[in-house]
Amino acid sequence: MGSEPREVEKVREKFGDALRDVIYFRGEETLVVDPARIVEICRFLKEDPEMDFNLLLDITGIHFLEREYSYEVVYLLLSLPRKRRLRLRARLGEEGEIDSVVPVWGTANWHEREEYDLVGIKFRGHPDLRRIIMPEDFVGHPLRKDFPLDQ
C-alpha cells in the first residue's frame, strides 16, 4: 500500500492498531478508529503540522439495529491550509458512549449536543450535554432506527 494517503500512513505509524480500517470510496478516505482513543487521534490530526486539520466541519451519529455495533460517530475534518478533507469513524457498542472532542475543536459543542439529542449518543466530558433541537421534555431520540414513525 505504497500509495496510501499521508494521513493514513501517519495515523497508522503513530497509533498502530487503533486504526482499525480504512475505507476508500469515490475518492474520499474514512479512517475507522478505536473509540477509546478518539480525542488523542483528533488532537494529533489537528496539531501535527503536517496534518493541520484545524476545522471540524461536522459530527454525524448513526444508529444501527442487529449489528455487532450499535452506533457510529462520524467526524468530518477539514484542513484549511492544505485544502484536504478527512473522515473519521468510531463504532460504539450498546452503551453509546464516547469522549467529547470539545477540548479539541470548540465547534464540536453543538454538533455533539445534536447527536446526543437526535441519536442518543452520550459524549463523556461534554461541558453542557443537553438537548438542542427537540424540546427539553421530549422522550426518545428520533433518529434512532427503532423510533416509531407514527407517533
Binding site: I23, F25, R26, E28, T30, N54, L55, L56, L57, D58, T60, I62, V74, L76, L80, K83, R85, R87, W105, G106, T107, N109, W110, E114, L118, R131, I132, I133, M134, P135, P142, L143, F147, L149
Partner: protein, 402 residues
C-alpha cells in the same frame, strides 16, 4: 438574576442586579424563530444562550424514508432564501454517491443558479440587516433587485420560492431562450445598484458606528467554532469551497474571494457586498461561455426520460414509472459533498446501505454552526449590538433547525 423568592427577602439596594430577558423566538430582528435568552446588566449583555429547534421538521429522518428524488423538494425548505443552491448541493452529493457525471451545459446552468441564489440571498441579508439597524431605505432598494432575480428564477424553474429545479443527473428542464437576454439586462444594471447601496451605507457615520468593532471574532476563534463562508472570510481566512474544492465547473471561471481583516460586523458587510460583484463576474462568464448540448446525463435507470418520449414509447414509460414510484438504488458507501452556499459551507453527508433511500443523511448546515458564535461575539457588548451581531451573521432558521 430575578428569582421569585427574592421579592420577599429585603433586597440589597447596592447589589449588582441583572435582568434575564427573552429575545425571540418571535422577534423582528431574529430573522425567523431564533430565541436568545439574554442576561442584561443595564444595557450591557452579560450572557447570551441561543435556543434553536423551533422550526425542526425532522428532515434528516424524512430523508431515510423517501427516495432520493423525493427529497429534492425538502431541500428547498432549508435555506429558503437560496433554495436553488440547496437543490444543487443535494443532487451533487447524490451524483457523487452513484458515480454519475452531468453534461457541461448542466454544470454551467447549475453555477448560474447558485450565483443567482447568492445575490438574492445577500440582498435579503443586506435589506433586513440594515432595517434591523434602523436604515430602512436600503430594504426598498434591495427588494427592487430581488424582484428582478425572482422573475429570472421563475423563468428558469417555473416557480419563485420552492424551486426544486435540479434533478439527479441533470435538470428538470433546460433554461428558456428568453432567460439569457433578461439576465444580461440584469447584469448590466446590477453593479450600479450595488454602488447605490454603498452610497447609503459604506461611509454612513451611523452605519459605521453600529457595525465597526461590533461582534468581532478573530480568525483563530472563527476556525475553532467552525465558521465558514463570508463569516469566516471576514476574519481574514481565505476559504471558499468554490476555490478549494471546485465543483460543477467553478474552476473555469475567474473571480476573486474577498476577505476582511478584523472580523467585525462591518467587515462581514464589506465581504458580502464584494461577493455580489464577484457573482456578477461569474454570471457574465457563464452567459458568455454557456455550452450547447443536453442538460441531462444519459442514464435511463436514474435520469427521468423526456416527457414527449414517455407518452410515445414503451421503454421510456417503464423507466418513468419505475423512477417515480420506486426510485433508483444507490450503491453501498458514503459520501460528503459540500458547496459554497451563500451562508457558508453547505454539505450533505449520505450513508447508503444499498437501498432506494439513504440509511442516514446529515445536513452540514452553515447557519447552525454560525449561531454557536453569537455568545462569543455579543457578550460584553451593548444589547443593541446583539441585534447587529445576529444581522451580520445572516443565519436562516430553516437551515439551522432542519
Amino acid at each position: 438574576m430575578h428569582h421569585p423568592e427574592d421579592r420577599n427577602s429585603a433586597p440589597d439596594p447596592l447589589a449588582p442586579e441583572t435582568v434575564t430577558i427573552n429575545m425571540g423566538p418571535s422577534h423582528p430582528s431574529t430573522h425567523g424563530v431564533l430565541r436568545l435568552v439574554v442576561e442584561l446588566d443595564g444595557e450591557v449583555v452579560r450572557k447570551v444562550v441561543p435556543h434553536v429547534g423551533y422550526l425542526h421538521r425532522g428532515m434528516e429522518k424524512i430523508a431515510e424514508n423517501v427516495t432520493y428524488y423525493q427529497f429534492i423538494p425538502y431541500t428547498d425548505r432549508l435555506d429558503y432564501l437560496a433554495p436553488l443552491s440547496n437543490n444543487v448541493a443535494f443532487v451533487l452529493a447524490v451524483e457523487k454517491l452513484i458515480g454519475l457525471e452531468v453534461p457541461p451545459r448542466c454544470r454551467a446552468v447549475r453555477v448560474l443558479c447558485c450565483e443567482i441564489a447568492r445575490i438574492s440571498s445577500h440582498l435579503l441579508w443586506l435589506g433586513t440587516g440594515a432595517l434591523d439597524l434602523g436604515a430602512g431605505t436600503v430594504f426598498f432598494h434591495t427588494f427592487r433587485e430581488r424582484e428582478d432575480l425572482y422573475n429570472l428564477i421563475e423563468m428558469i424553474t417555473g416557480t419563485r420560492l420552492t424551486t426544486s429545479y435540479p434533478r439527479v443527473g441533470g435538470l428538470a428542464r433546460d433554461i428558456p431562450e428568453k432567460l439569457i437576454p433578461e439576465l444580461k439586462k440584469f447584469l448590466k444594471t446590477f453593479p450600479g445598484r450595488v454602488d447605490e447601496y454603498e452610497t447609503l451605507l459604506t461611509r454612513n457615520k451611523i452605519w459605521l458606528k453600529r457595525t465597526e468593532n461590533v461582534g468581532r471574532i478573530s480568525a483563530r476563534d472563527a476556525i475553532d467554532l467552525g465558521l465558514t463562508g463570508p463569516n469566516l472570510r471576514a476574519s481574514g481566512v481565505e476559504y471558499d469551497v468554490r476555490k478549494a474544492f471546485p465543483y460543477s465547473g467553478y474552476e473555469q471561471y475567474s473571480f476573486e474571494v474577498p476577505i476582511g481583516s478584523t472580523g467585525d460586523a462591518y467587515d462581514r458587510y464589506l465581504v458580502r457586498m464584494e461577493e455580489m460583484r464577484q457573482s456578477v463576474r461569474i454570471l457574465e462568464q457563464v452567459v458568455a461561455s454557456l455550452p450547447d448540448g443536453p442538460v441531462n446525463a444519459d442514464d435511463p435507470k436514474v435520469v427521468l426520460p423526456d416527457k414527449k418520449k414517455v407518452v410515445t414509447s414503451m421503454e421510456e414509460l417503464i423507466h418513468q414509472f419505475i423512477i417515480v414510484t420506486e426510485g433508483f438504488t444507490a450503491p453501498v458507501g458514503e459520501v460528503y459533498h459540500g458547496i459554497e452556499a451563500p451562508k457558508g459551507e453547505l454539505g450533505f453527508y449520505i450513508k447508503s446501505e444499498g437501498s432506494k433511500s439513504p440509511y442516514r443523511l446529515k445536513i452540514r448546515s452553515p447557519s447552525f454552526v454560525t449561531l454557536q458564535a453569537v455568545p462569543l461575539m455579543a457578550e460584553g457588548g451593548m444589547v443593541s449590538d446583539l441585534v447587529a451581531v445576529v444581522a451580520s451573521l445572516d443565519p436562516v432558521m430553516g437551515e439551522v433547525d432542519r
